[in-house]
């Protein structure tokens, strides 16, 4: 993500519909370029429209639902299960903070309920999703031909987490007491581990360890597409920002045009000293 934000401004390569257009244009995929002399008019685009669309896309994978329903049936529970686990984790942390620092908080009870709902539904959905995705990857030659060891490993890794979590809640910790104690432990730098932790078990330990490893591992893999989608959509697919005279885009382009390419084909005429600007403004004599 850090590398992405330091990359030079690229040329436009948007594809329509662009979701921050006005609602009437989004409906059929129109753009501001449909308007005569648009550069003299105030643009009515709305970033809110874009966020609305992205939120549903990231949460519910609308694109897959529309274009590839059978895969969505397993992909949605997989992704939503993961999101619910992240939500459950955040709720657990909040719960731990309240329990430790706000005595008799009235929010503890509703939080408990939310943790149970998010936790149970996340774990059930996650298991269905992992089993389903694994089955689809193995049984469908279209998917199998493109699946590598890493793809199976990634699903298995997540499956281990969901399975161990399922076993531990089924085996005696349906109210996530173990997880709550773990969250308290995180906040108190481990001191709560001194006490009795109900539901502490091998499966509970496996789920905690695998969850921690996943939190580190996912951002390093292509599985980060879950949230990198934002950049793929926002920074490329929908990046229609025009280059207005004296604006930030123009400044960035002027900087880019000073870069010195080293492409080797003879018609390019690059020698490592000439900039893009030099090369674009001169056409070397070529035989035709």
């Amino acid at each position: 993500m850090v590398r992405l934000s330091s990359l030079p401004v690229h040329v436009r390569w948007e594809v329509y519909p662009v979701q921050h257009e006005t609602a009437s244009r989004v409906y059929y995929g129109g753009s501001y370029m449909e308007e005569s002399d648009w550069w003299e008019k105030k643009q009515k685009r709305s970033l809110f429209n874009e966020f609305k669309y992205m939120a549903v896309e990231i949460l519910f994978i609308r694109g897959l639902f529309k274009e590839n329903r059978t895969l969505w049936l397993v992909s949605f529970p997989f992704h939503f299960g993961l999101y619910l686990m992240v939500a459950a984790f955040l709720l657990l942390m909040l719960n731990a903070v309240l329990a430790l620092f706000v005595e008799g908080s009235i929010f503890i009870k509703p939080l408990d309920t939310l943790i149970i709902i998010a936790g149970w539904s996340g774990i059930v959905l996650g298991n269905i999703g992992c089993a389903g995705l694994l089955y689809r990857r193995l049984s469908d030659p279209e998917l199998r031909n493109y699946s590598s060891f890493t793809d199976y490993f990634n699903i298995m890794f997540i499956f281990i987490f969901f399975l161990s979590a399922l076993i531990s809640i089924l085996a005696g910790d349906p109210f996530f007491e173990g997880a709550k104690a773990y969250a308290t432990g995180l906040i108190t730098m481990g001191s709560s581990f001194n006490g009795y932790v109900p539901g502490s078990s091998i499966s509970g330990t496996v789920s905690i360890i695998s969850a921690s490893l996943l939190a580190v591992y996912i951002p390093l893999t292509h599985m980060s597409h879950m949230f990198m989608k934002y950049f793929l959509y926002h920074s490329v697919k929908w990046d229609d920002a025009p280059n207005l005279k004296g604006g930030p885009v123009e400044k960035a382009i002027i900087k880019n045009l000073k870069l010195k390419p080293t492409w080797k084909a003879s018609h390019i005429g690059a020698d490592g000293r000439k900039s893009w600007l030099d090369i674009a403004s001169e056409a070397p004599e070529e035989k035709s």
């Binding site: 040329v11 390569w13 594809v15 370029m33 308007e35 005569s36 493109y146 292509h222 990198m228 490329v236």
Partner: protein, 532 residues
Amino acid sequence: MKPSDISRKSECLCHVEPADLTPLPFPYEDYNDRTITALKPDKIKSIESSLDDTVAVGIPKPAGEEEEKAFVERFLAGLKKLFEKENNWTFLQPLILSMEHCAKCQTCSQACPVYEMSGGKDIYRPIFRAEVLRRIYRKYIKPGGKISARLTGDIDLNWTTIARLAELSYRCTLCRRCATVCPVGVDNGLINHEIRKLFSQEMGIAPKEIHDKGSVLQLSKGSSTGMIPLAARDSVEFIEEEMEEITGCKVNIPWDVEGADILLLHNAGEMLAWPENVGAFAIIFQAAGISWTLSSEAVGYDAVNYGLWYDDVQFSRVAVRHADIARRLRVKKIVMGECGHAHKALTVIADRLLTGDLNIPRESAMVTLDNIISSGKLKLDPMRNNFPVTLHDPCNIVRSMGIVEPQRRILRKIAPLFREMTPHGVDNYCCGGGSGFAIMSGYNFSEWRTLLSSRKKFLQILDAFSGEPEDMPKYVCAPCSNCKGSIRDIISYYDAEERSRIYYGGLVELIVNAMTDMKKPIISFGGEPSWA
């Protein structure tokens, strides 16, 4: 077939049998047993031709091991450059994002007309070439790649892998239908575009129709048609005479008018293949009292910019020439004529290339014409276009620019029997001639195009006109020169004029055909005037 099979020894990696192709309906069933004519062995003995049944690039076979090795090394050097900002600032971020985040869900395959029409041939999957590039990149460029390749997906790299990849990059029309359906936002069309760039910018490999006889010719002579400025002026003079003869309307086409409101850029191919399009623009602009001009300077009378499909440097050179001509003419804006790729090239892509006084406003002719029609300046009788009309949406104008409604608003006013295709607008299918295919015809490539990449368009056209009387003339309105080229070829190959009375043309011809000032129709069907 797996991506790693691209390195496999084989005389032909993918062969298309007639039964594999999506069948055509009545009265075209007799075409269902046709497939691509076999390549002549003597013609292909010294070039790479082992990918499928056709050849687009025709890379010469290496003389020996040394040459093979040098070829592979050069490819890898180019691949590295694709990921460097000095060499590829233009597309670096989109490329990295698309390379890193594919979930291999195959949703894109179902959206690709080439894949679908071929009967699901694996090599034509949008993800196939992307995955080949991804694996080569990971294994041979990324640190530790040779070890991790066993885990992330292996591939062998040899001369054949690379030569086949070059060919394969010319089996995708860059229509980007796949990109619109990808749930992650990955763009396999873009990856294909980058593969073409690598071959052109580093290795000097590109089909001769788009490089030697395309952008090189345009930059050196003035037009990819080979027309020098004098020839362009002659053509236009001829068009003026012809317009008067056809429509009875005297038209003057202005050249090099300094300070005009509009510089109109035509695809120079129109002047030669469809002169009535150039003439119709002039009739409309004249009738609407527009201040406009053409440029007679080399490159200024040819809107094409083939670099869009394969080479950022050639692209930039042509875009800069276009903008500089407009700057020196001191026009208020450039209006792009009926040429889809030229639209996207100068309006969208060059937008992040042209700075200062080169950044002259650019507008689509669809928008200018919509304005003229809505202003009521032209007197129109839609009943003069009383025949079924369907609209083809050029990918570059519609899916890549979001210019969808202006041309429809016009058609609703001038074509009472307007029929939409299914699907249409941003979901429409490519004409099959995108990304240079319409002008590529070496070996048997035009047959591959008509049978495979244009097949979906032909089915869409037939579907749009299904239910219309067989003997009634039908008009496919294609406001793009390249699209017109491939639709012309589809109609001719499948004998559709004879069998279904299907004709084609641009949007401006339909407008002029409806103008009450015209004494005679500009549109005729097989010599028969469209109105009396």
